[in-house]
């Protein structure tokens, strides 16, 4: 008859690996808890970061990434330059530009709630003259009231940005340069043009009539065909100010939003590192449990050797047990991490996104940890001489 040992079937191996865990369930749960916490932390960090990114993508998709802003730069002598009055009509003539509009900063005028407010308490609010098609181009919406129209743009009427309205206390009227102005509307926050949030917007001609506005646009907002944005970006400077094209600053606000989220990535990396430390400690916990398990079960090892288990089969049994132990923790951790991400994303009104690679990576990491943690104890178990193991009970 042949004297070659038979291979254990995978199902038998799983059962064998599970016997030790079933014999001491509390210990199994506690030692896999460390792994679970590590994996949960890492999954949640990746998940929350991905959910935030998904939210940003969703917001950008809604806002559009095809808006460019043009602002005056500085002259070669370091003074602030102006955009020519012709900048907006010139930009409108660029082929791929869908729309262009402007605001003009009204210098030396501040907005107050009443005439009783000391002059110094400007609240950091700007007064801007706005063209009538501003809202459509920057993608802004009104939270209440109406926008300026051809009539109200000529009279003392003002639309407040969201922050400006809050700081002024949602007044029905405001005080601007010796005159009471009627608040006819309040804007929602404008993500792509945050400078509008802290501004009081008045009509172009009203600003000229009542506030001494010089009529120079200070920020031009332009929307271009998505595929042509970069090309438009390059010609915006020379178009806005043909005499001094290098005294013009062009930016793409959606880039700034994206960059802001990128800054958060550093923080994410730090948290991931903390998760990795937890995972490492969890792995050491599993290794410790396995070492103790092998010490306690010398008699069982001896018995199995006498029943015909090879060294390899004893080794595999303990590695399997360690793998099961860490997989238990890994599965619990992934689930927990997903739930934490879901809970946090829900409170932030984000979509819940946990990338598949994070889930697979979490489980994969536990497999590696389980194998490493179990290897040394398993090798020790396999090396035990059967006679010695049997004598130890």
């Amino acid at each position: 008859m042949s004297l070659w040992p038979t291979r254990l079937s995978p199902a038998d191996l799983l059962r064998l690996g599970g016997t030790g865990l079933r014999a001491r369930p509390l210990r199994a749960v506690l030692s896999s808890l460390g792994i679970a916490i590590g994996i949960a932390a890492m999954t949640a960090v990746v998940g929350i970061s991905a959910s935030s990114q998904a939210d940003l993508d969703r917001a950008l998709a809604a806002l559009g990434t095809n808006m460019l802003t043009v602002t005056p730069g500085q002259t070669m002598f370091g003074e602030n330059s102006d955009l020519p009055d012709t900048a907006v009509p010139m930009i409108r003539r660029i082929g791929p530009v869908l729309s262009a509009t402007a605001t003009g900063s009204v210098d030396d005028v501040n907005v107050y709630r009443t005439d009783r407010i000391p002059e110094g308490q400007t609240g950091g609010l700007a007064v801007l003259a706005a063209e009538l098609d501003l809202l459509r181009t920057v993608g802004a919406a009104l939270s209440g009231g109406t926008w300026l129209n051809a009539a109200t743009a000529r009279y003392p009427a003002v639309v407040l940005g969201s922050d400006a309205a809050r700081r002024l206390g949602n007044p029905p009227t405001v005080y601007l340069d010796g005159r009471v102005w009627t608040v006819i509307g309040v804007l929602d926050p404008v993500p792509l043009a945050p400078e509008l949030n802290s501004a009081a917007l008045v009509g172009w001609s009203a600003a000229a009539t009542y506030l001494g506005f010089d009529g120079h646009p200070t920020t031009v907002y332009a929307r271009a065909i998505e595929s042509q944005v970069e090309a438009v970006r390059h010609v915006l400077g020379p178009t806005a100010n043909p005499q001094q094209p290098d005294e013009v600053k062009v930016s793409r606000p959606s880039d700034a939003l994206a960059a802001q989220r990128t800054a958060n990535a550093t923080f994410t990396a730090l948290l991931l590192g903390l998760g990795a430390v937890a995972l490492l400690v969890g792995g050491i916990g599993v290794a410790n449990t396995m070492v103790i398990s092998v010490l306690e079960r010398r008699a069982e090892i001896g018995l199995r050797r006498s029943l015909g288990a090879t060294k390899g089969q004893v080794r595999t049994q303990f590695v399997t047990e360690s793998l099961l132990l860490s997989l238990l923790g890994g599965a619990a951790g992934v689930l927990l991490g997903y739930l934490v991400t879901g809970a946090y994303a829900t409170t932030q009104n984000w979509p819940t996104v946990v990338p598949l690679w994070a889930l697979a990576g979490g489980v994969g990491a536990t497999v590696v940890i389980g194998a490493i943690a179990g290897l040394y104890p398993a090798v020790r178990a396999a090396r035990l001489a059967p006679t010695e193991a049997l004598a130890s009970s």
Binding site: L3, P5, A23, R304, S306, L307, T310, T387
Partner: protein, 219 residues
């Protein structure tokens, strides 16, 4: 070939100069019921390890079921134990928390028997040792004698060439012990070769053949 166990000139010495077994010759034929008897320290446990292929001799040759132990690798010895040798220990060595069938079925695990077959053969073996009504009992629900019967069922479930029983009655009261010896006799009567290792002359004297040992030698 009618010898299941054939020891010739077997010596086992340990590092440090202790010689546990000294030039022993022993041959046991298929179907025999033999007692190796001797006081503690006589080398009978070492004999069990050598015959059970759990250890290799320092000198001499050990042949079990026609296989020369010296020519076999550790893996082959494991396979030999899995298929041709059954062990019964003084401490029973049953897994706590697992029922009688599961404990007995483990004895067939390493012989490559599929799970379903392991289970019905385990049940058959338990019926054979008189525990047909204790199949789902766990070790702590069984008496000492019943536990040893489970261990014997585990050893014979694979139909081994030889059953090695190391002080099988050592942890039992005299009534249970007598029952276990009676069971070994019955198994032998139905064809199993049984080798009992004991210090108890009363038990040994009741068996057909005795191999007395003292100070590592057969006397």
């Amino acid at each position: 070939m009618s010898q299941v166990i054939e020891l010739s000139g077997v010596t086992k010495s340990y590092p440090g100069g202790v010689t546990a077994v000294r030039s022993v010759d022993l041959s046991v034929e298929y179907g025999e019921l033999v007692a190796i008897v001797g006081p503690s320290g006589s080398g009978k446990s070492t004999m069990l390890h050598l015959i059970g292929t759990l250890d290799r001799p320092s000198e001499g040759s050990v042949k079990i079921d026609g296989h020369d132990v010296a020519t076999l690798s550790d893996r082959q010895l494991s396979a030999l134990r899995a298929r041709r040798i059954g062990f019964v220990f003084q401490q029973f060595h049953l897994a706590p928390g697992r029922d009688a069938v599961a404990n007995v079925a483990d004895g067939l695990l390493y012989a490559g028997v599929p799970k379903k077959e392991r289970e019905w053969r385990a049940e058959a073996a338990l019926v054979r040792v008189g525990l047909g009504d204790r199949l789902t009992h766990r070790p702590h629900q069984l008496s000492g004698g019943e536990r040893q019967r489970v261990a014997i069922a585990r050893a014979v479930a694979g139909d081994p060439a030889v059953l090695l029983a190391d002080e099988p009655t050592g942890n039992l009261d005299s009534v249970s012990g007598a029952g276990v010896v009676e069971l070994l006799r019955e198994l032998n009567a139905s064809g199993t070769t049984v080798l009992v290792i004991t210090h108890d002359h009363e038990i040994a004297d009741g068996l057909p053949r005795q191999v007395p040992m003292r100070d590592g030698e057969v006397v």
